[in-house]
């Protein structure tokens, strides 16, 4: 990166830490620290909800998904607006009027202490490990792209975030999220504009869309009813609905954002604000990925998008490399010619030879895979994959000076906005659901609680850094953590469904149902190929049915 780019990036990092520190300087009580004094306006909370959800790796990997496979991932968000309406009508009034700090606090009032403790513990375990992955995943990509060590990028992201969350708690999280979301939106439009601007002069936006479409990169909605097919309209609408209900309704990292609203109205408006904007935003991010795919028809992309791998390959210089590169260059030229021929034909009112175009794309993919195979054989790195490097490689090589630093800042903003919300929510669950719940009545003071809350923030931040720094060595353990998260989402929604939709369900049913639900999802995940979006439905239904049956077989709650 140029000096100007580094200046932009460092200006962002220092500016956001100073802002976060400054807005949170007046925290005196635990209400201030965890719920920003319950005085936040809806638009700030809405932007914070949005910023917490969009992580760096979402930004990096969804553009790559559009580049390699099309825009089908968009269907995951189709159910989000419906979920927001359902939550505004059900859980949000519950949480707000109960004046709870955590979503799990409500479960004690409805069921019992063990249900609250169990769900909160599940959240801490799952989110605590996941936050390490949230930090690790972009850090390796940024380290490779920026030529830094992983440790440096981990500390750049986590260090600054811990600093301002430690000082200002949720108030700092929300106001920095507002600025970060502004930067992210600006970055999205900038990337889209530059992706169009970088197209050849003779190539219009319409030509670009036609080319992307012919190669399947505009594919969005599939009506396939096979449960194993990824990202169909049905899995998006049904599985996505359960996922969004769980994420926005039962995950403390999101619940805590909208509990900071100054009234129920503000909390609801913050979610509905997201309902209007989330799908268009994700559409623009995916469209950028599709346009980068078109751009690389006219500018030869690197065969390996990871510059460190590229360098290792050059150093190894195996004899198979030269013929593989010759094939790759020839395939690129053939694809470029086919793209121009196709677009010329379409412009003149013809159909264009889409089959020939797709054939050149297939050959291009095969030729690139040939170079990747040479790399794998030469280095022994059989698990090599570089999809997450595509977008950043494009940014670094094709954007003008200054814009590069800004877009890298966008990636940092996306990472830090997610991390800040997660650190704060983990500290909240630790403090409220465990320390304050289990200590002797009458002990503790505002000042002591505030200090302890900050200690938990630092502890979880440190834990995330530790996990991120060890993630490369943890390997399959990370996969287990991610899977555990997938098992948990639908299941915890099932517990809340039992709480709200039935009066007969009791704590024993809810707690045992939660275990049974996670077991059912684990069984489905390991013995079938059903797409993960459906796991949320299966988990929620399993907990609801099994939990209800167990409740029927055990004593009814006091008022049932």
């Amino acid at each position: 990166m140029s000096t100007l780019d580094w200046t932009v990036l460092l200006a962002y990092l220092s500016g956001i830490v100073v802002l976060g520190y400054w807005v949170g300087r007046n925290n005196r009580k635990i209400d201030d620290f965890f719920l920003a004094g319950r005085e936040m306006p809806w638009w700030a909370v809405g932007l914070s909800v949005m910023a917490t959800q969009i992580s760096a790796i979402t930004f990096i990997s969804t553009t790559a998904q559009a580049y390699t496979d099309g825009m089908r991932f968009l269907v995951v968000y189709f159910a989000l607006p419906f979920a927001m309406v359902i939550l505004c009508l059900t859980l949000v009034p519950f949480f707000y009027r109960a004046q709870v700090f955590t979503a799990y606090e409500y479960l004690e009032r409805r069921f019992d202490l063990k249900t609250r403790t169990l769900t909160s513990l599940c959240f801490l375990l799952q989110r605590g490990m996941a936050v390490g992955v949230t930090l690790y995943a972009p850090s390796i990509v940024l380290a490779s792209i920026l030529g830094l060590s992983e440790t440096t990028t981990i500390f750049m992201m986590a260090g600054g975030t811990i600093l301002y969350v430690l000082k200002g708690g949720n108030r700092s999280v929300i106001w920095t999220d507002v600025v970060q979301m502004g930067i992210i939106w600006f970055g999205i439009f900038l990337c889209l504009f530059i992706a169009v601007w970088n197209l050849p002069d003779t190539f219009s936006f319409r030509d670009a869309l036609g080319l992307a479409q012919a190669n399947g990169r505009l594919n969005t909605i599939s009506f396939d009813t096979n449960l194993e097919t990824p990202y169909t309209l049905w899995s998006g609408l049904i599985g996505g609905l359960f996922l969004m209900l769980s994420y926005f309704g039962c995950d403390q990292s999101q619940v805590q954002r909208y509990l900071s609203g100054s009234s129920l109205k503000e909390s609801r408006l913050s979610l509905l604000f997201n309902a209007f904007l989330k799908v268009p935003m994700q559409f623009l991010i995916l469209l950028t990925g599709a346009l980068v795919f078109v751009f690389y028809h006219f500018e030869k992309p690197p065969a390996l998008f990871n510059p460190v791998a590229e360098s290792r390959l050059r150093n190894a210089a195996p004899p198979e490399l030269a013929p593989a590169e010759v094939r790759y260059a020839a395939a690129f030229e053939a694809r470029r010619t086919a793209a121009l021929t196709y677009s010329d034909a379409r412009r003149q009112g013809g159909e264009g030879d889409a089959a020939a175009l797709v054939a050149t794309q297939s050959e291009f993919t095969a030729a690139r895979n040939g170079v990747v195979d040479v790399y794998k054989n030469a280095t022994g790195d059989q698990g090599y994959g570089d999809n997450n490097y595509i977008f950043l490689s494009y940014i670094l090589n094709e954007l003008p000076k200054g814009a590069v630093g800004l877009v890298i800042a966008v990636i940092f903003a996306a990472a830090m906005s997610t991390l800040s919300g997660e650190f704060n929510s983990l500290a909240t669950a630790s403090m409220i659901d465990f320390v304050r719940r289990f200590r002797a009545p009458g002990s503790g003071s505002d000042a002591g609680d505030l200090m302890l809350s900050r200690a938990f923030t630092a502890l979880w931040g440190g834990f995330a850094v530790l996990i991120a720094m060890q993630a490369g060595r943890l390997g399959s353990a990370i996969e287990v953590v991610n899977r555990f998260g997938s098992y948990f989402y639908g299941s915890i929604l099932g517990v809340f469904m039992l709480a709200i939709l039935t009066k007969r369900a009791n704590g024993t049913g809810a707690s045992l149902g939660l275990f049974a639900g996670m077991g059912v999802v684990a069984f489905v995940a390991t013995t079938t190929k059903i797409h993960f979006l459906w796991w949320n439905v299966i988990g929620a239904v399993a907990v609801f049915v099994i939990g209800y049956l167990i409740s029927l077989a055990t004593p009814a709650p006091a008022k049932a």
Partner: protein, 62 residues
């Protein structure tokens, strides 16, 4: 609701489900849309329109 000690009350009492719809609204008008019913309907209709537009976008003969 908290006791003086900051602990949650005993868990035996079941919370009643709050009523839904406009009766459950907070005080004051909803910006732009007027009522909660109108804003919920707008969210749903807008989402359906966006989904249709995206489908058309993906299938339009460019």
């Amino acid at each position: 609701m908290k006791t003086k000690e900051g602990r949650s009350p005993p868990a035996s009492n079941i919370q009643e489900m709050p009523e839904t719809g406009d009766d459950n609204s907070d005080t004051g008008r909803v910006p732009v849309f007027g009522t909660w019913r109108a804003i919920y309907a707008s969210v749903i209709v807008a989402n359906l329109v966006v989904m249709v537009l995206i489908y058309i976008f993906s299938r339009f003969p460019y």
